[in-house]
Subunit: 424 residues, 2 copies
Amino acid sequence: MARIVVKFGGTSVGDTDRLENVARMVQLEVERGHQVAVVVSAMSGVTNQLVGYVDKIMPLYDAREYDVVVSTGEQVTIGLVALALQKRGVKARSFASWQLPIRTNEAYGRARILSIGTEEIEKAMAEGVVAVVPGFQGVSGEGRITTLGRGGSDTSAVALAAALKAERCDIYTDVDGVYTTDPRITDKARKLPMVTYEEMLEMASLGSKVLQTRSVELAMNHRVRVQVLASFRKLNGEISFDVPPGSDMPGTLVVDEEEIMAKGLEQSVVSGIAYDTNEAKVTVANVADRPGVAAALFGPLAASNINVDMIVQNVSSDGRATDITFTIPKTDLPRARAVLEERKAALGFTELHTDADVCKLSVIGVGMRSHAGVALTMFETLAKRGINIAVISTSEIKISVLIAAEYTELAVRALHTAYGLDAA
Amino acid sequence: MARIVVKFGGTSVGDTDRLENVARMVQLEVERGHQVAVVVSAMSGVTNQLVGYVDKIMPLYDAREYDVVVSTGEQVTIGLVALALQKRGVKARSFASWQLPIRTNEAYGRARILSIGTEEIEKAMAEGVVAVVPGFQGVSGEGRITTLGRGGSDTSAVALAAALKAERCDIYTDVDGVYTTDPRITDKARKLPMVTYEEMLEMASLGSKVLQTRSVELAMNHRVRVQVLASFRKLNGEISFDVPPGSDMPGTLVVDEEEIMAKGLEQSVVSGIAYDTNEAKVTVANVADRPGVAAALFGPLAASNINVDMIVQNVSSDGRATDITFTIPKTDLPRARAVLEERKAALGFTELHTDADVCKLSVIGVGMRSHAGVALTMFETLAKRGINIAVISTSEIKISVLIAAEYTELAVRALHTAYGLDAA
């Protein structure tokens, strides 16, 4: 018997039929003898509808009232899932965030979970009752409803698993696991049986939207074993479970590096190839090459809430002027341009080049720490296909390069093969 | 400056445009210097949608989870109305029922309000903040969400007005007040400027669905002055307020008899003519005329949750057998027939006659207490038109008769004239 937290979001709580399937899957875990807590999102489209109401009345809203409105979506789902479980003969009850409570800070609309009271849930579990809890929300110190921001339900689930010291946190999603790369780009992509927190974190922040970055951070900090798996798949045109009874590890397990090593699994040097086409490149040409110029450039961008990602500064030949290139979210490009043009005289640059047709390509793997030559393989593979690299940035377990967007698929496929990731 | 509670339900919170109109009306009250608390229902159709979800998953639901789901409709509205008020520069905040709290008993799905904590609202009012509160719900002793049953928002508003010792409880509805009779039947129907709690109670329980019966009882018990008024009316094709600034009493005030007398208003003997075509007549012929037969007849009906309304027992000529006639809700007719037929031998009756084409016609007025001849006028008026009376029942301020449904409009118009209620 184990204690597990299971989380259902997205299309897996799409409508009442889907909710009945959720109940079937939870029932399966209960029948395996597990103590189960369920975390659910709002039904598909509900949150968007609620946000739409708020936007219609007041686009510059009071975040506290926004949270009152938007948090109701999950409250509907917890009641319905509890009912669907009862219908199947599984004892269940819903808990609102204020009933546990799920305490957060006062950052309405983007709150962070501070603690979760587990007394009520543990009492329920001891009585064989499945607890159904809303994701995405909590209650502030002053006793008002908060929400965690989009995708916060993953974080709720991991935080609850940590509080309950659960054996595992199963996150059911629209994909059936974490792949070596996007299966839409190459059919040679393989599902990874296990991946480390560190790798998952790099993948999450690189646009592989399997899990929210914050939830992976939390899992890593509290050593919560997270399993990513598909809620449904089509078999002969029918929606079916992705968890055949008896099969225990159908998705991808996100765990500690030591657990993977302890299992003696053959670990590749590189675990996956990620790409992100949501960034844009900005080059500020002929900036005066003197101390403080980077701060003068990036300060105003930060003040405007524009996140700068990759940065390169070219060595100036004459020691007087230099070019600085960096990337920002594509959607922030018009604002960034305005911010910089406004300060053109102060910064002393001559030209501003921007390019939205770029792709940030990354190879990720904890094996890099102990293996040399990983970067070289990447550069050689791209060079052989005539793909030019505009910017390079590296971390301990990741190498990222910026290339022209048109080469994305070619580059992903070539690297997937080069690092020996292709499915047999 | 007065303290008032205003309640908006039905189509007045139909969509976000209507909610903005609600905010305009509340703003008007604030600008008049009033301290205002707002009680709101769910937006049109929302509660039905939520109930639909529950029914789809589990028709025989756990009422506690039903309440969790169904109570979210009002939570959406409170946040949106608070936002709409803020948009107009009116300070406002929403309060969930558990934040005040609105305490109820544990009768999930049909709970009764026990008490309302006013500390938070009074603090808000002292700071010039309009409190926006959800109708229809509360929190039980064990800390779970409850709902009051359909139409419970009127009761929430009256209970809040009582708790806050408010000067008035304004209930905005789809009609603009209480009329001497249904205006769809005669264009001579007049809007009553004032009506007593007792009269309103009789009208409410007789199918004039302006206010929920329970809310009128509560208002009477706590002497809450209730004003019924229209949220909107069409003026030259445009939706407009029914409260022109400066006009203070546009609807119908439901108050104590003494207040009406103190104002020296000419009070008619009869205030209104009500009718109800939702009852059916049942006659059980040739029942043994012995002690205990009525109990034997009505016991099983009560056990089957069938409400019996009017009852007459004819005097038997031979002292051996008698006919008993009574009315029940039309929708319960098939069940009642089954219950009685099953006990035919035990009850010893020979025949069962039912008639669903009947109308319960009532004249209502506190003036009856001190005036004789009111019933006679009714009987004579109906006799003159050849309308037969099947059953008669009376209370202190009401006379009801059962007639054939086809005479409904004729009878209503004739009585409206006979009691001097016709508009000039």
